[in-house]
Structure formats: C-alpha cells, structure tokens
Amino acid sequence: MATATGVYHTTYGRDFALRHTRAEYARLALLGAFAVVLPFTLDKYWLSYVNLILLAAVAAVGLMILTGYTGLISLATAGFLGVGAYTTANITTRLHWPMPVGVLCGTVLAAAIGAVFGLPALRVKGLYLAISTFAAQAILNNRFRDWPWLVQGHFSIGAKTPAIGHHVMRSDFEWYWLLLVITGFVVWGGVNLFRTGFGRALIAIRDQDIAAEVIGVEVGRYKVMAFSIACGLAGFAGALQAHYRNVVTWERYDFDTSFLFVAMIIVGGLGSVSGAVYGAAFMTWVPAYITRVGQGIQQGSSGTPFIIRELPAIQLGLFGVVIVAFLLFEPRGLARLWQRAKDYFRIWPFRY
C-alpha cells in the first residue's frame, strides 16, 4: 500500500486533490462496496434506521455548512425540516402534483424563509443571531401545531408515497438506494463547496469576519446565503422524510429535534462535512440501540422496566451529556478522532 510520508506535489492540481494516495482511493472503494452490500445484510428494522441516518445526514450537512464552516448557529433545523415536509405534503395531496415538484417547492420555500430569519445577520452577530433562529423555531413550530389550513383540519397530514410509472416505492430497500444517491450527492457537493471561492469566503467569515470584509467578501450577503443553503437542505431532508414516512405531525419538528441536529454536528466534529455524516449516524443509531436494549430487558423481566419507562428522559439527558462532553473534551468531534487514528497508523511505527 502506498502511503504518504510527506508532501511531494508538483502541480496545483495534485495539491488540490481530495485524495492523494492509493490507500485513500482503496478506502473509498471499500466504503462504496460496504454501501452496496449493507441493505442485503440488514433486517427491515435496522434498514429503516439506515434510511433515517441518510435523511438526517442531508440536513446535518446543511447545518454543518452554516455552523461548522460559517460560524453561525441555527437552532431551527427542525422548523425548516417541517417547512419542507408540510409544503410537499400539501402540494402532493391537494394539487396532486408529482413528488419531485413538491420536494423542490419545499426546498425553495425553506431556503426563502431561512433567508428571512438570517436577515438579522446584517445587523448583529454571534449570540444575537442564535436567538433569532430560536425565534424562528418557536414561530414555525407554533404554525405547524395551530394552523388548521396547513394540516387540513386534522392533527396530522399524509404525504404520498412516490411512484415510478406504476410501481409504488414502499419498501425500505428501494428507499435506501434513492436516499443513498441523494445523500451521496449532497455530501459530495458539501465537500466540494469548500474548494470553491464561495466556500472559502464562508470559511474566511468564520475565522475572522473583519479580515474577510477587508479582502472583499460581502459578509452580510454571504451569511444570509449560508442561512439559506442550510435551511434549504433542511427543507429538502424534511420533504423527503415526509414522503418516506407518509405522515407529517408537528411533534417531529420541535425544539428537541433542533437540539438533536446541533448535537449531531458537534459529535461529528465542527468544520468537517464527513463529520456531519458520522454525527448523523451516531445520534440516530444510539437512541435506536438504547431502545433495542430496553426491549431486550423488557422481554426478560415482568412489568415495565426503568429503562423503557424513562426512555425519552434518558435519551434527552444523554444527548445533553454527549454535547457537553464533546465540547469540553474533543471539540472537533468524531471526525478528529478518526483523523488521529488514521495519522497514527499512517506513520506507524513512528510517533510523528
């Protein structure tokens, strides 16, 4: 296996490349093979969780662009998931337009509303902006809950299962391939975004906004655009999720869900697109695993065991503890841990 023990690039093209060594290409191929084999090895229960991870990863990449690369916080990811979900549900069930149109409308609307709540970025920064998104979450969640027109007078609203020709996509297996392609594109786009001028402007704003302004970055405009991208991706994920789960209810879009996404990008590692995916996987898989363990215990004993009764509380508490612990002990998250592990083996048996 070829390994890189130093920087020997002779062209700019080589220097900009995402992958430098054959080992890195081999790892990518392994990952691809893993993604292809995975759905054949999992049962329906775990495959549905894999799909949820892929969906969460789309929104998490959006939030990562906003928080990890531009340095702005959004506490309204769930609100914008909801915007996408309700938009596509209404469009496909009322107007009977096809699903792609609904998803597109949901994405665009979420991006537009996100830009509106990002407008305070023109006047204030940091803490104040976080509160603005907090207000967005409060307003949006209230609308989902108490706007009879939006939910057509019901408690929840259904979203159609998509169909290709006469074939209706119902199974998790089919959804897996669709979501794999979509999430793959989003991650690929996210990684490459930061090799463009636009992405580098965002990073400049995060690192030192005054210096960014001096070198000609329109800070206010870029911040609003970052908001718009993050909220648009959240809307996109929400719209897809609505079609995947067939039903849209307001409880799925409350503050807790927003916090969950913040937790995802912190655990994954701020400032790393792949970190967003690790975080989405970790924060979706752990609660599912806890639930499974809880059910296992329940079968073994009589009555409702502590862990099942307190499951929501344990999950919430654990999210909080995980966020705090990562911020205190490994602020760069899982992505950094993985990087360190790779570095260790790359130069083994030397220390550095």
């Binding site: 023109l122 108490d146 800070v219 807790d256 508490g317 909080g320």
Partner: protein, 292 residues
C-alpha cells in the same frame, strides 16, 4: 373598559413575573457574556424543588423556599465550576452550544426525577380573587407573585447600588481587565453571578408555578418568553428586563383577548426578530460598535 383594565392588570402581573424569570438570564450575560439557554430548566428545577420541599416533605413555606433557593445556588455554582469555567476564552459558538447541551441534560434529569405529569402549585400560594378599582377581579396568586417580584427587584437594585459585591459585579461587567487590576477576583464574580442566577431562577420558577397553578414541564413553554423580553429590553440591562417584561406581558394579554391565542403565542417572537433587525441592542442595552 373593565375588560381593558382587567387585561392591563393581568398583563402587568405576567410582565413582572417574566421580568423576574429574565433576571437570572441578564445577570449571567452581564457578568460573563454567556447566553444561558438552560435558564428555562433553572426555572423548572427551582419550581419543582420548592414544590417537593413544601408538599412532599411537608416543610413550612419559609423553609421550602429556602431549600429551593439553596438548590438553585448550588446548581448555578456547579454549572459554572464544572462546565463554563473550562470554556472561558472559547468562541461564543462553543459556549452557546454547551448551555444548549446542559439544557437538554437538565431536562432529562427533571423528567426522570419528577415525571411528565404536572403537579399543583405549592400549598402556601393564596387562591381566590381580589377586587381592585371597583370591579376589576384579579387572582390573588397573581398579586402575590407581583409583590414578590417587586421585592426581589428592589433587593437586586439595592445590591448593585450599595453592596461591595454588587459594585464589583458591575465593574467586571464594564471591563474585566480593569476590574482585575483593582484586585477583584473575576472567577469569583463569575461564580457569584451564576449563583445569583440560580437563586433568581428558583424564585422565578416558583412564581410561574403559582400563577399557572401547576408545577410541571409546561413552565418551560412560558419560560421561553424570556428571550423576547431580554432582546426587547437589552441583553445586559436590568432596567430593560423590567420594561421589556411589562411590554411583552401586556402585548400577550391584549392580543390573546382581542386577536386570539395563536397570535399571542407568535407575536413576542415576531417582535424579537423585528427588534434584532431595527434596534439590535434593545431599548436599554449597551450599544457595542462592532463590524458585522
């Protein structure tokens, strides 16, 4: 006219309590520049502790309130010492997110300890109504809560004007380095601010529980109204919390009655965003000139 008077009195009463709930928030921000997203949990924990001491353990009310305040102070100190002190000098991003994580963790603990079912208010809260100005009926628990809020605010004002620690806190808020040069221990002031915020959270939570006549997780829903209050008044102004609390309290009551409950739930947050766009540092906040 009677209805308008009634709404005004109710709104002002709610406003007084909102101000108190927002006080802890402002105290922490003023001294340490941390936005504490866990303040809502401080309120809930304070309310539950008092309820627990008063109803479950059967302590008389002065002791129950004391238990709640001590718990609030310990909570504030623990949070400062174990978490926030390690993050001094880190980016505001990390600090905000750590308090969000803290909020989630505390929420889990509250849920596990006291459960999701709401309990009644502590037993010592008065019930019934009192008539003012002839025919304006006001719930006695509201009047009681306003009385407590006024007492607390006068005490806080006196503390900042007269006491040594209060002046030291203002000095730290003005300029940390200059305060250090004067021999003020900034670390101790930070701890002190968190302890005060914990105590204020306890009293605020108790009052919220008494006007809503229940002690439960719903209090948190009311507690998020502190954000519009502090942004309207100015994040670092104690005067601002009083005025902001009054304005938000009144607006919520008026819109609830004349326009519908939904409008009243959204309006404070619409005001929040509007204020951020027009006058970001609020009515009384210190304007900081910085490039955006």
């Amino acid at each position: 006219m009677t209805r308008f008077l009634q709404l005004t009195v109710n709104g002002l009463a709610n406003g007084a309590i909102l101000s108190l709930a927002a006080l802890g928030f402002v105290l922490i921000y003023k001294a340490t520049e941390v936005i504490n997203f866990a303040q809502g949990q401080f309120l809930v924990i304070g309310a539950f502790m008092v309820y627990n001491a008063n109803v479950t353990w059967g302590l008389p009310w002065p002791l129950a309130v004391l238990v709640g305040i001590v718990a609030g102070i310990l909570l504030g100190l623990a949070v400062e010492r174990l978490i926030l002190r390690r993050l001094v000098g880190e980016s505001s991003l990390a600090v905000i997110m750590v308090t969000i994580g803290l909020a989630s963790a505390l929420f889990g603990i509250v849920l596990m300890t006291w459960g999701a079912e709401p309990k009644g208010p502590p037993k010592f809260v008065p019930s019934g109504t009192v008539r003012l100005f002839g025919d304006v009926a006001v719930a006695a628990n509201r009047l009681w809560a306003v009385g407590v809020a006024v007492v607390v605010f006068v005490a806080v004002a006196l503390f900042f004007q007269r006491s040594r620690h209060g002046v030291a806190m203002r000095a730290v808020a003005d300029d940390q380095q200059a305060a250090m040069v004067q021999g003020i221990s900034v670390n101790r002031i930070f701890a002190f601010a968190w302890a005060l915020a914990g105590a204020a959270g306890c009293v605020g939570g108790l009052l919220l529980a008494s006007i809503n006549s229940n002690t439960g997780l719903e209090l948190e829903g009311f507690a998020i109204l502190v954000f519009p209050v502090v942004i309207l008044g100015g994040l670092d102004s104690i005067m601002g919390t009083v005025v902001g609390g009054g304005i938000i309290g009144l607006l919520v009551e008026y819109t609830k009655s004349y326009w519908g409950i939904n409008a009243s739930q959204i309006l404070p947050f619409v005001i929040l965003v509007a204020i951020l766009l027009v006058k970001p540092y609020g009515l009384f906040g210190q304007v900081r000139i910085e490039r955006v």
